[in-house]
Symmetry: C4
Subunit: 219 residues, 4 copies
């Protein structure tokens, strides 16, 4: 389905960190390096500190070590204000447009009971049909919130085909590794990526750090 053209795939953190974990996994597995960082005045007004080292919130457009027709989008947080969500989405789309990206696939989560593991949406009816042919049932009537939804929805304004793949989660876990794994399996199959998903131990969620868990008693 994506054999020609240039793909950008990824997402910023949402429910259960499903999309973020999948994007970060892709970034690691494909040995990506940062192509362009994005900052936003909508990110939390703080600097993260890890072992004494300060790090600003950022989104990052990355390139795999051995592929020229693919970008991976990762990030630490979504902007807190709607206006900044739109602005950051536009900044990212302008950047990928200038790199001739033709298809933008965001990775997100769907909260609810469903017999499916992953569902999808796209910006054109033909693309929805293609997803279905590739084993990704369509999301019916819903709203995809946050910047992952906006990126898929705004893509056509930049001449880019937009998609959203959603891993189904109960929404109860702060971090849903199972949903992330399902999402990764669907994405790698769709993109025909040769990645071993079992390479990471998805049973052990203790090592995954998360923004909400940090100590906020500093100022």
């Amino acid at each position: 389905m994506f054999s020609s053209g240039t793909i950008c795939i990824g997402g910023l953190p949402g429910v259960g960190s499903v999309g973020k974990i999948a994007a970060d996994y892709l970034s690691t597995a494909l040995e990506c390096i940062t192509f362009k960082p994005f900052y936003s005045k909508g990110f939390p007004a703080q600097v993260m500190v890890s072992d004494g080292l300060t790090e600003l919130f950022r989104a990052e457009l990355k390139v795999p070590k051995d592929r020229s027709n693919m970008y991976v989008l990762c990030g630490d947080a979504q902007p807190l204000e709607i206006e900044e969500m739109y602005s950051l989405a536009e900044d990212i789309l302008e950047a990928v447009k200038s790199q001739n990206v033709t298809d933008f696939i965001t990775l997100a989560a769907y909260v609810g009971d469903s017999k499916e593991k992953v569902v999808g949406a796209a910006s054109e009816p033909d693309l929805v049909a293609e997803l279905e042919k590739n084993g990704i049932p369509k999301l019916r009537n819903a709203a995809i919130g946050g910047i992952n939804g906006l990126l898929a929805g705004l893509s056509p304004l930049y001449g880019i085909r937009g998609y959203c793949l959603l891993g189904i989660t109960s929404g109860e876990a702060l971090i849903d590794l199972k949903a992330a794994k399902n999402l990764l399996e669907a994405a790698t199959q769709l993109l025909d990526l040769d990645i071993a998903i079992d390479g990471l131990d998805f049973e052990d969620s203790k090592e995954v750090s998360c923004y909400q868990e940090t100590d906020m008693n500093y100022r």
Copy 2:
């Protein structure tokens, strides 16, 4: 009253979706096509999905198939922030100004008991008197909230006459089709439009979908 000049009529969703239903009905009945879409960073930060297809929130300036002196304004939502309401109203007014629109009529709702079915307001005393001559009693002391009020109020700054027609509603129904029908009857009579309002079954409200009813469990 509007035999000369170029009219823009319509509105974005408000109480009971009264103005939106009326505007959408006009758009369908006059077989309008989209002339210019408007996006706003004040719209909800999400993409709507319908049968797998992603669609951004937007407002749309439309033109009837067989009329050159008329525009219809429709839209999915109002911006959530005041500043963005003003900005979107200005964007719309600049667009219609460049198309030589002379009169801008917004369609909205009035919540309250009243013996009237529809009331009106305008940006000049003469226009208020004209509305009354045409059977639209004037709204006395009140505030018309949201972008439909702003569009009418800002019109004079663009050299455009501004009007607001308000269908009276109890404000209790999520969707008040009766009020929308009253508003449509007043508008079509005022504009001398030959449209069959009974063409749609206003008794059956079940088919009218609404933003608030969508499943928000996606991200």
Copy 3:
């Protein structure tokens, strides 16, 4: 104290409408006409309707009929957002600067018990002393909130001397005509204005309309 130079005096609505009533009275008594209107995206997102006529919220810089060295600032509302308060204050100060205004006097309210009727503040120690010589005791340690405080505080950045006169009010009345009268007396004496303050019946507050009292059931 203000015999030379060009004065701008007035204010936007605050506690008890004290400053607004005083500014509106000056505007009427001096037979002012509007010199420049100011709109703000921070004003409430609505249009006011009075007897069928739509009117946007605005601030207005006015000029007295028979004076060339004076401006009066009136207005319907303060912006709701801090950023817009600063922006509107800057717009107003730029406009008066271009008219060679040398002294900007805002009229506001002070909530609290005090043996004084009116207190004052200014942007230079000499001006504070001048106010005291003219019978206006200084405000000691306090914060003057809203755009009336900002206008006085920002004036020096435009090369303009800034003052704030505050009528003392209990803060309980929606409209404190007594405090407004005290403020007017102090202002007219300070500016040596020959205005009959008893010309309006300050005992009858029923005719004074107010933003908060309007019917908001329209949309």
Copy 4:
């Protein structure tokens, strides 16, 4: 550690006013004069009045009387909105960049129990190690909130090394002079400044005025 290059040190008010007191003390002890004031539309919408004199909220970049390779940052408040925090931080960093500042050290507070008196963070691992060598233990996993964190985090985007020194406080006192003194001792030792910290009576906190304590009953 900072023998070469040009340093900017200071901070805007945060928890316990720890950083602000330290910055103000440095400013006084080094007989600083204001080099550049900064205003922000994110500061509270009010003007402070002290003994009749109006004063806008501001941040100030100051220069010591007898040093050419050092700046001190002081200020009255932090912007209330995230976006304005980022904007003010950028304004300050642009200003110090144009003065060839190489190292930006913010002074802030850490709320919590700790055997340390002061901890630190920096934008490069080498700098963290340098801090440790100089007796400042590193802050481990945490988030430094507000503009003091942003200034340290954004510095590298301007080619400036960023640091944050945090005085440990219980967070209970409105003003924690003890924590401020600890922070000052660490900072003066680190910068090899010859300043007598006992010159001010830190036992008497009554004379230290504070934004939260002012009378807000004015408008």
